[in-house]
């Protein structure tokens, strides 16, 4: 079993749609959860960082963590064509030089 499983996609939605991206994990010791956006052949860009169960909102993005179910989600409201990218979930055990364990990524296309 992979440590981090991410909904594989690809996902194609019309502009303005609400997008839901999801990951599950097996190691209950993960403490910190991130969502990154990656454009083709570019570096991962940090979107959201959270360390507790619950919701965290930043503009059109909401990160949700449910530690009891070992499940995290990223919601994108009012999706735009510029949101078209690969979204990576990642998690770490601790922030003191802790390695990030990434999901495989979900490729999102937002059609105008």
């Amino acid at each position: 079993q992979k440590e981090v499983e991410q909904d594989p996609g690809p996902l194609s939605v019309p502009e303005g749609a609400i997008v839901s991206l999801n990951c599950t994990y097996s190691n209950s010791a993960f403490q910190y959860f991130m969502w990154y956006r990656q454009y083709s052949r570019k570096g991962p860009e940090l979107l959201m960082y959270t360390y507790s169960s619950g919701n965290k909102e930043d503009g059109r993005f909401t990160a949700q963590v449910d530690k009891s179910s070992k499940y995290i989600s990223l919601f994108i409201r009012d999706s735009q064509p510029s949101d078209s990218a690969t979204y990576l979930c990642a998690m770490i055990l601790n922030t003191n030089a802790g390695k990030s364990t990434f999901g495989d990524g979900t490729t999102l296309t937002v059609k105008p």
């Binding site: 030089a97 990030s100 495989d104």
Partner: protein, 110 residues
């Protein structure tokens, strides 16, 4: 906004040659990392570095790899004798809490 920078953006080398990939982390960050991503695959951890020593390394990070922070700003990854399978995007990251990634160096081994 501060960002992680990496040079070169693309490196082409012959199998068996040594390469050095360079990174300038965000200036007040304390923890430094190298990751790689083979085309079409997930981002994989290589090594983390803190207080001038390796904190953790993966199975990928064998004796052919080394890291160094030669001065107060640069962080380097050296591959001593490159193999074809080392062809990948190499990302440097730095953190205080969340990890911020650089744009990557695309390494092509011929």
């Amino acid at each position: 906004e501060p960002e992680v920078t990496q040079t070169p953006s693309h490196q082409v080398t012959q199998m068996g040659q040594e390469v050095i990939l360079r990174c300038v982390p965000i200036s007040n960050h304390l923890y430094f990392y190298w990751y790689r991503q083979i085309l079409g695959q997930k981002v994989e951890f290589l090594v983390s570095f803190y207080n001038n020593e390796i904190s953790e390394k993966s199975e990928i990070f064998d004796d052919q790899f080394s890291v160094e922070r030669p001065d107060g700003s640069n962080f380097t990854l050296k591959i001593r004798s490159t193999k074809l399978e080392d062809s990948a995007m190499y990302f440097c990251a730095s953190s205080l809490l969340a990890q911020y990634f650089g744009p990557g160096t695309r390494l092509t081994v011929l």
